[in-house]
């Protein structure tokens, strides 16, 4: 085997695990995650000679992964439908319900150390359509660089804001209903 093939084989051994888990986290589907990670290694194989150790291998592969996830998204959701906020706002754009006014007793600062809360949060995230959840996750993984997410996923800036807004509205409602109001 040449040097390139040897390296790629080593990388497959070393990084498949974390790449697959990251891909699953983004896509919520094992088969999709495997397909995407396979594409990551194929890309790495093809562009091996342009890599030149500029960054760490893992960082480089993760960057390719984010790109491939965005590409996956772009192909799957080519025509994003209108993100509707009618559930929360009336025709004038005012809040429909007063439940937004209820206090959250979130003084417990380490909510994420609480297993019960983590479970509720995970369930609430699962309820978001992937069409919104993938861009929301990418947005955080890309350190909130909206331009980058838009460019990679093909979502317009206006739609990205709406997706974030809509996604968070729903998450807020779900957390409120399943956690904060019960406390």
């Amino acid at each position: 085997m040449d040097k390139r093939a040897t390296h790629i084989q080593q990388w497959i051994d070393a990084y498949s695990d974390s790449l697959l888990n990251s891909a699953f986290f983004l896509l919520s589907d094992k088969q999709d995650a495997e397909d995407v990670v396979q594409n990551v290694f194929i890309s790495a194989f093809e562009s091996y000679y342009s890599f030149e150790d500029r960054s760490s291998v893992k960082t480089w592969l993760m960057a390719i992964l984010k790109n491939k996830v965005a590409e996956f998204y772009r192909k799957k959701y080519r025509h994003p439908d209108n993100v509707s906020l009618d559930r929360y706002f009336d025709q004038e754009g005012s809040w429909k319900h007063d439940d937004i006014l209820q206090d959250w007793n979130e003084k417990d600062e380490n909510l994420l150390d609480n297993n019960d809360f983590n479970k509720v949060m995970a369930d609430c995230l699962d309820k978001l359509p992937l069409k919104w959840l993938i861009p929301v996750k990418l947005y955080y993984l890309e350190e909130k660089k909206a331009d980058k997410v838009c460019q990679e996923t093909g979502i317009t800036a206006t739609n990205l804001w709406k997706i974030l807004q809509r996604g968070r509205m729903q998450l807020r409602e779900c957390l409120e209903f399943n956690w904060f109001n019960i406390l």
Partner: protein, 89 residues
């Protein structure tokens, strides 16, 4: 009545909550920032939302940037690696 007044004077809540997203991403113009501040000053609904969004923003940032949990068992993983290695020889 109050809601209606807010709508007429200081943009609808639907728009204010969108500006909150832009503000959190540092993508808000100075003019929008002033309008949002004014809106939040008089609108208790959006003020409550703004507070909850800040709590959630922190939670989401932490959850989405921590290491992803293990979802693939060793057998799946080995099968995946073997198949891929065969392909990229």
């Amino acid at each position: 009545m109050v809601k209606r007044l807010i709508h007429i004077l200081f943009m609808p809540c639907r728009q204010a909550t969108l500006l909150i997203e832009k503000r959190n991403a540092n993508r808000i113009t100075s003019f929008q920032k002033i309008r949002l501040k004014a809106h939040l000053m008089i609108c208790k609904w959006c003020r409550a939302y703004n507070h909850k969004i800040n709590v959630m923003e922190d939670l989401m940032r932490k959850i989405f940037t921590q290491d992803a949990p293990d979802k693939f068992n060793n057998i799946d993983l080995q099968t995946f690696k073997d198949k891929l290695k065969e392909k990229l020889k």
